[in-house]
Amino acid sequence: MTRTLVVVGHGMVGHRLVQALRDRDSSGVWRVVVLGEEPRAAYDRVALSSYADSWDATRLALDGGHNDDLVELRLGDPVTAIDRTARTVTTASGRRQSYDALVLATGSRPFVPPVPGHDLPGCFTYRTIEDLDAIRAAAGAAAGDGVVVGGGLLGLEAANLLRRLGLRTRVVELAPRLMPLQVDEGGGAVLRRLVERLDLSVHCGVSTRAVESAVDGLRVVLSDGTELAAGLVVFSAGVRPRDELARACGLAVGERGGVLVDLACRTSDERVYAVGEVAAVEGRCYGLVGPGYAMAEVVADRLLGGSATFPGADTATKLKLLGVDVASFGDAHAVTEGALEVVHNDPVSGCYKKLVVSDNPRDAGTLLGGVLVGDASSYATLRTLVGRTLPTDPGSLIAPAGATGATGSGVGVDALPADAQVCSCNAVTKSRIQEAIVVDGCADVPAIKACTRAGTACGSCVPMLRQLLSSCGVEQSTALCEHFPQSRAELFEIVRATGVRTFGELVARHGRGRGCDICKPVVASVLASLGTGHVLQGDQVSLQDTNDRFLANMQRNGTYSVVPRIPGGEITPDRLLVIAEVARDFGLYTKITGGQRIDLFGATVDQLPAIWRRLVDAGFESGHAYGKALRTVKSCVGSTWCRYGVQDSVGLAIELELRYRGLRSPHKVKAAVSGCARECAEARNKDFGIIATEEGWNLYVGGNGGFRPRHADLLVSDVDKETLVRLVDRFLMFYVRTADRLQRTSTWIEAMEGGLDHLRDVVVEDSLGIAADLEAAMAEHVANYADEWRGVLEDPEKLARFTSFVNAPGVPDPSISFRAERGQRVPVLLPVPGVPGAGEVAEVKR
């Protein structure tokens, strides 16, 4: 018989509980009713600050939980009472719901110190999407100064928001340093210096005495008498568990608040559980999502008769605040008796590292915890070593790179025990990753990510994944093929720097042998990217894959398809007629593509120039459908016609397609422009996608459809067109120069050390100082573009290669024949002679 579980609260942990239960409850023992106070379903509150990147709440949505008959979500109607005897809950609207089991997942509320004036208009908290919307609206009205009360993690995130909204921002912290829970005095000092460099003022060691109304806004009065003018005030001084429902129905609560639960997450009533920030597990509340998720898993297990217990929580944290890395793990404040602190402090470079080790002469110290500020690159390795004997002396682990001959990360992944969590976000152990490599055959970082989810959240463990690959004997060779020991990126630089312009010279000087179907097209592509003339000139013709050699797409019967460029998908009726007439006259099968253009199939090699002649004469040019090159820039109709459009997406798409047409790249590049947030052009599954906003354009990168779909990530928001084009120039040229062969932008970014953050540093912040060079290279590409079809038509020597037979140029290939299907011609395939298993043979992998 189906039983009813009522979950009170739909935050991240409530959501995870429902997911975990539904994943395991295959026979449908439990029907779940979720009663939420907030007007929206659970979202990624941990990433709340990123809401300000786009002001698009859908980007914080959590996966799963849709269309499940056994889950009912009732939002915007908070539970107001629990009757444990009748086993019912009552909501604000008066609705009563009975339960067999009840889970309290009500979370926390922001703590607002009860100072006079704390509830004046202009005072805000920082916990929900609605809070951020309200702060944004107020900041627009009250330009000038902002004050954040609270210098912890969320306080600094709030301060960053105010700064981004254009306010002069001050942070007030009661403790003598910022982030007092996570960092110690030394770390706090370095953090403060780094934060002050960003024009944030910091007032530590003072409390807020009052908030007062002033003529032009508010005034915050501090305990030392200082008065700070403020257009708005954000309170971010910690949270308190929302345990009022539990108190009212007589459940036991913790000494410092929170619903008291045991290790099974069960309250003093065996039918009632509590999870997440409202739960006080054996008296202790946890303000992190990781422990909350662990509790959700425990309760899901218990509801199905299991015996799971809360395993204790790792309160280690690592974050990037205002561009500053801060990490803290284990006994960061050295409260363990006899603990020793080993410190590396470099205020000049803004780097502070401390390890806390046990004072045990026999084992040279067990790692107890640590604090990292400014450079947290060793966090992933160090935190997994907590509770274990260090493999080397602690000083060398935090010494700056090069100082001791050690690398910056200090300790290799080999030193980690098998059960160490390499990816703490998704709780993936070293042994699980090794299994993925050895048993499941994962041969690179993207494969490990797909198989284990390791490295898919914060990405800090990606360097360790690479180390594990090589320690498992997976050759991480970057050699292009047997002929070139270099990677594609290295070859690109060689060709660019040396000016070598033929394959023969390149392979003689920098490789060996005669080349193959891997390195030849790569070199041809590199030469083309560098703008060395027509892709079929000189010895380049013998380097090209058949598609590039015939500037058309080979189909399964050996004929080709032809795709003229239709920029942005915009086409006049007259031009449509030209395409229709060409298709009719040459008997070509005609199909609309996904890239908003028209593909004409069934052309033989000797027909191609004649087809192009007709198209080129009518003003068409090659669409590069055959090349590892920019394909299309798709668009929705945009503000010209659409009632909802906010920008001219068609105009921008055409401009971009004409700008980047013909750009040869490591793999194909697809793009799209949407004229509003409804995203009809599907820009987020493109290599670069642009979505219009009221203020300008948002640029997304690294999206993919195809075999491994991936949504593009936001690179910048609300930029004007000039900035946008400059950033796309840099992004594309950086990709062209550094990606591996056949690596789409999505895997390029995933495999990049530092991932999207690094990409943004390079492309937006110009951290490598190459932006001007990238832009110049793109300007040269744009200036030197020429239509490849026309290039063949105008050169008799190139034209002569488009024949069926060297000894019978006018004779059509007798092996090619067609039949009719739905009124068009389709190929008749030849029988495959004597190949075992043929037809199942996919591409041969090497």
Binding site: E482, H483, G504, G513, R514, G515, C516, D517, C519, K520, P521, D539, V541, S542, L543, Q544, D545, T546, R549, F550, M554, R556, N557, G558, S804, F805, V806, N807, A808, V811, D813, P814, S815, I816, L829, L830, P831, V832, P833, G834, V835, P836, A838, V841, A842, E843, V844
Partner: protein, 115 residues
């Protein structure tokens, strides 16, 4: 124009200059047989059946020429299987071999043997 030598019939096909180094062209033999003619970088000429046995399409002449561990090969343009230019043996599937034809250059003309 044909000449009999040791039961082989040599068919003149084209001017040697019509072959580009490290490239292939297709030729149509009497009776409709299609051969793929390749000229490698060292000047040698090889002739294979133009039929890609994996796809059933007449396309081998349009593959990329190169070497694998020193073996001169053409990679099928369809799905990249490599074939030894000298023997027709597929290097990716030892059960597959394509027909080869003897080829030679006489007075600047390429000739292919048909049996």
């Amino acid at each position: 124009m044909t000449t009999a030598v040791d039961e082989q019939v040599w068919v003149p096909v084209c001017d040697y200059a019509a072959l580009e180094p490290e490239s292939g062209v297709a030729a149509l033999l009497p009776g409709g047989t299609q051969v793929a003619l390749f000229r490698t970088g060292d000047g040698a000429v090889h002739a294979l059946s133009n039929l890609d046995p994996f796809s059933g399409a007449m396309v081998l002449a349009r593959g990329i020429v190169g070497d694998r561990d020193g073996v001169p090969v053409v990679a099928s343009p369809m799905h990249k299987q490599a074939f030894d230019l000298r023997t027709g043996q597929c290097l990716d599937d030892d059960r597959v071999r394509v027909t080869t034809h003897a080829a030679r250059v006489v007075d600047g003309w390429v000739e292919v043997a048909v049996t």
